[in-house]
C-alpha cells in the first residue's frame, strides 16, 4: 500500500532525526565527561616538558611511566592506596552489615515507629564540618587520631544512614509473606532472614555496598583532619601535588588514574546488580 509506505518513510525520517539529536546530545555529554579523563591519562604519561606547551600536546611522542613510580613511592601513593583500600573495604562491610540489619528491622518490626528511620537518614543532612572537631578531640583522647580504625569508624557511621535507608526501602517492598512462608515452613526469624530475605535482597545489598565504597574511597574532609603521617588515604595525597612554586601535574594525574581503577573494576563487576538494586527491587518472582 503506497500510503502505508509513505507513512513508514515518514516515520523512519522522524526516527533518524531523533537519532541525530540523540547522537549529538550523547556525544556532547561524553566529550564533557571524558575530556578531563583523557587529559589526566596523557598528562600522566607526558614528559614534564610537554605539560604547558602551546599548542598542547595531544599525545606525547615519548610516553613515560616515571610519574607513576614517583607518585607511588616518592609521594607515598602506595601507602595511601593501601590505607584507602583497607579503610574503604572495612567501612563498607560494616556499613552494609549494620545497614542491612537496621533496614530489615525498620521494615519488618517498624522499629522506632514512624520517625526513627527518617531520623537516621537525616544524619546525612549534617555537614561533616559540624562534627569533625568534636570527633577530632574525642579521637585524640581515645588514641584514634591518625589510625585506620578511627577512619573506619567514622566512615561506617557516616555511610550507615544511606545504607540503612536503601535496605529499608528494599525490604519494605519485599512481600513479608515470603518470610512468613519460611516461618511456617519451619525456620526461625534468623533462618527466614538468612535463607529467604537476604538472598532476595542481594541486589540491594550490592547497590548499598557500591554507594558506601565510593563514599569511603573518595572521602577527603575527615581524612584530612583525622589523619596525618600514617593513616592518610589517597585523596589527601593530592594536596601535596599542588605546591606553592611548582605543581607535579604528572604525578597527580598518575595517582588519579590509579585511584580510578578500583571504581572501574567495581562498576564493571556489579553493573547488572546495581541497576536492579537501584530500582529498589521492582523485581518480583
Amino acid at each position: 500500500m503506497p500510503s502505508g509506505k509513505r507513512a513508514r518513510r515518514r516515520r523512519q525520517g522522524a526516527l533518524s532525526f531523533d537519532n541525530l539529536v540523540r547522537v549529538v546530545y550523547l556525544g556532547a555529554f561524553l566529550i564533557f565527561l571524558l575530556a578531563p579523563l583523557y587529559w589526566a591519562v596523557i598528562t600522566a604519561i607526558k614528559p614534564v616538558d610537554d605539560y604547558m606547551t602551546i599548542p598542547p600536546v595531544w599525545f606525547p611522542e615519548h610516553p613515560t611511566l616515571v610519574h607513576f613510580t614517583a607518585a607511588m613511592f616518592t609521594y607515598r601513593g602506595l601507602v595511601g592506596l593501601i590505607n584507602s583500600a583497607v579503610v574503604s573495604v572495612a567501612a563498607t562491610a560494616l556499613s552494609v552489615l549494620l545497614g542491612t540489619l537496621m533496614g530489615y528491622s525498620f521494615a519488618r518490626f517498624n522499629t522506632g515507629g514512624q520517625h526513627l528511620s527518617f531520623w537516621v537518614l537525616s544524619q546525612r543532612f549534617l555537614p561533616p564540618v559540624a562534627v569533625v572537631l568534636p570527633v577530632f578531640l574525642l579521637y585524640r583522647n581515645l588514641g584514634l587520631n591518625d589510625t585506620r580504625l578511627g577512619l573506619i569508624l567514622i566512615y561506617t557511621v557516616t555511610s550507615l544512614p544511606l545504607s540503612a535507608w536503601m535496605m529499608f526501602a528494599y525490604f519494605r517492598q519485599m512481600p513479608a509473606e515470603l518470610e512468613e512462608a519460611a516461618l511456617v515452613d519451619g525456620y526461625g526469624r534468623w533462618g527466614a532472614l538468612w535463607k529467604v530475605a537476604l538472598p532476595l535482597a542481594l541486589p540491594g545489598i550490592i547497590a548499598a555496598a557500591v554507594f558506601a565504597f565510593i563514599f569511603c574511597w573518595t572521602e577527603f574532609f575527615f581524612a584530612l583532619i583525622l589523619t596525618s603521617r600514617s593513616a592518610y588515604t589517597l585523596p589527601t595525597i593530592f594536596r601535596g601535588f599542588l605546591g606553592f612554586q611548582a605543581s607535579s601535574y604528572g604525578e597527580a594525574s598518575a595517582l588519579a588514574i590509579v585511584s580510578l581503577v578500583p571504581s572501574i573494576i567495581l562498576g564493571m563487576l556489579v553493573q547488572r546488580h546495581l541497576v536492579r538494586g537501584l530500582t529498589l527491587g521492582a523485581v518480583r518472582g
Binding site: 509473606e177 512468613e180 516461618l183 511456617v184 515452613d185 519451619g186 526461625g188 532476595l200 523485581v283
Partner: protein
C-alpha cells in the same frame, strides 16, 4: 492431622479490634471455611492460628496442645498464601523441599516426598523451573505442593484462589476439594467468596466485625440463616428483603406490604410468628423461591402475585427478572423462555415456606 480448638480469642491489629472473642471447635479432618466481607477478621484469625500474629487473649489448641507461645515453625501447620509466596530465588523443587530441609529429613526421603506431591498435583515436569517461569495456576499448585509435602497437622489457606481468573479458579477449587477428600486432613480456608465457601466447606464459619455470626454446614446456613446478614451474604443473586407488617385476619396470619398487597403466611407458622402481629417485619425471600406461576392449585404457603416485568437478565440456564413488590424492586428466577420483554405482565409464584421473617430491630431471623 488434628483438631483445632479456639477459646475466647481476641486480637488487635493495626489499632483495630480485629478478632473479638472467637470460640471455635474444628474436629479432625474437617474442611472449615472462614468467610465474610473484607475486614471481618477472618485473615487475622487465620494468621493467629498460624502463629504469624500473637493472640492478645484466649487460647489456641492444635491437637490438644496449647500453641499460644509456640513459634509458627513448631506448630506443624502449613499455609498457602494469597499471593502464593513462592521463594523467587529457588526452583520449584527447592520451594517444595524447603520445609522438609528445615526439618532435617534425609535427602532420599525429601526426594521421595517432593516427587509424590508433585505427581499428585501434576507439576512433576516443572520441578526445575523458577517460580517466575510458571503461570498463575502452576504457581498455585506449587504453593499447595509446598503445604502437602510436609504432611502437617493443619492446613491453612488464605484466599488462595483470589489471584486466578474465573475458569482457573473453578478448576483449582475442585482440585482442592479432591485433595481434601484424598488426604483427609484438617483444613481451614479463608475466602470472601460465598460460592467458594458453599462448594468447599464441610462447615462454614461466617464472620462479621471480628465475631462469628453463624456457623454450620453450607446448607444449614443457606436454608436457616440466623440473621439478616447471613441471609444476605450467602446466595447469588442475593436474597430480596421487603419491609412488611405482620397482620392477623380471620384467625390467619399474613403480611401487609407497602404497596397494599397482602400475603397469607403458611399454616403451621402461626406459633412462630404470633408475637409479631402488628409489628414491622422484613420478609426475606431468595430469587429462586419466586418463579413464574404455573396453572393449577396453589399449595400451602404459595402466593400468587400479578406484576409487571421491569428488567430481564438471562444467564442461559436461567433468567433473572426484576419486578416491583412492596415498594422495592425484587429479583426472581424464571425459566429462560418465561418472559419476552420488559413491561410484560407476569404472574409470580412466591414460596413463603422457604422465606424468612426478620425482626428489623434486632436483624435476627424470627
Amino acid at each position: 492431622m488434628a483438631q483445632l480448638k479456639i477459646a475466647g480469642l481476641h486480637k488487635h491489629f493495626r489499632g483495630v479490634h480485629a478478632v473479638r472473642g472467637v470460640d471455635l471447635d474444628i474436629p479432625d479432618g474437617e474442611f472449615t471455611v472462614l468467610v465474610g466481607p473484607s475486614g471481618c477478621g477472618k485473615t487475622t484469625l487465620l494468621r493467629t492460628i498460624a502463629g504469624l500474629e500473637e493472640a492478645d487473649d484466649g487460647t489456641i489448641e492444635i491437637g490438644g496442645e496449647v500453641m499460644n507461645d509456640v513459634r509458627p515453625a513448631d506448630r506443624d501447620v502449613a499455609m498457602v498464601f494469597q499471593n502464593y509466596a513462592l521463594y523467587p530465588h529457588m526452583k520449584v523443587y527447592k520451594n517444595i523441599a524447603f520445609g522438609l530441609m528445615a526439618r532435617k529429613l534425609s535427602q532420599s526421603e525429601i526426594d521421595a516426598r517432593v516427587k509424590r506431591a508433585a505427581a499428585m498435583l501434576g507439576i512433576a515436569d516443572l520441578l526445575e523451573r523458577l517460580p517466575r517461569q510458571l503461570s498463575g495456576g502452576q504457581r498455585q499448585r506449587v504453593a499447595i505442593g509446598r503445604a502437602i509435602v510436609r504432611n502437617p497437622q493443619l492446613f491453612l489457606f488464605d484466599e488462595p484462589l483470589s489471584n486466578l481468573d474465573a475458569q482457573l479458579r473453578d478448576e483449582m477449587r475442585s482440585e482442592i476439594k479432591r485433595l481434601h477428600q484424598e488426604i483427609g486432613a484438617t483444613m481451614i480456608y479463608v475466602t470472601h467468596d460465598q460460592i467458594e465457601a458453599m462448594t468447599l466447606a464441610d462447615r462454614i464459619v461466617l464472620m462479621r466485625d471480628g465475631q462469628i455470626e453463624q456457623q454450620g454446614t453450607p446448607l444449614d446456613l443457606f436454608e436457616r440463616p440466623a440473621t439478616r446478614f447471613v441471609a444476605g451474604f450467602l446466595g447469588s443473586p442475593k436474597m430480596n428483603f421487603i419491609l412488611a407488617t405482620a397482620v392477623e385476619s380471620g384467625g390467619a396470619l399474613g403480611l401487609q406490604l407497602g404497596d397494599g398487597r397482602g400475603l397469607a403466611l403458611p399454616e403451621g407458622s402461626r406459633q412462630r410468628y404470633a408475637g409479631m402481629v402488628g409489628r414491622k417485619v422484613v420478609l426475606g425471600v431468595r430469587p429462586e423461591h419466586m418463579g413464574r406461576a404455573r396453572d393449577g392449585l396453589q399449595a400451602n404457603g404459595h402466593v400468587r402475585l400479578a406484576t409487571v416485568v421491569e428488567l430481564i437478565q438471562p444467564t442461559g440456564s436461567r433468567t433473572y427478572i426484576t419486578f416491583p413488590l412492596g415498594g422495592t424492586s425484587v429479583m426472581a428466577e424464571v425459566q429462560p423462555h418465561d418472559v419476552q420483554k420488559p413491561g410484560d405482565p407476569i404472574d409470580i409464584d412466591l414460596d413463603l415456606n422457604r422465606a424468612v421473617l426478620i425482626d428489623p430491630d434486632t436483624n435476627r431471623v424470627i
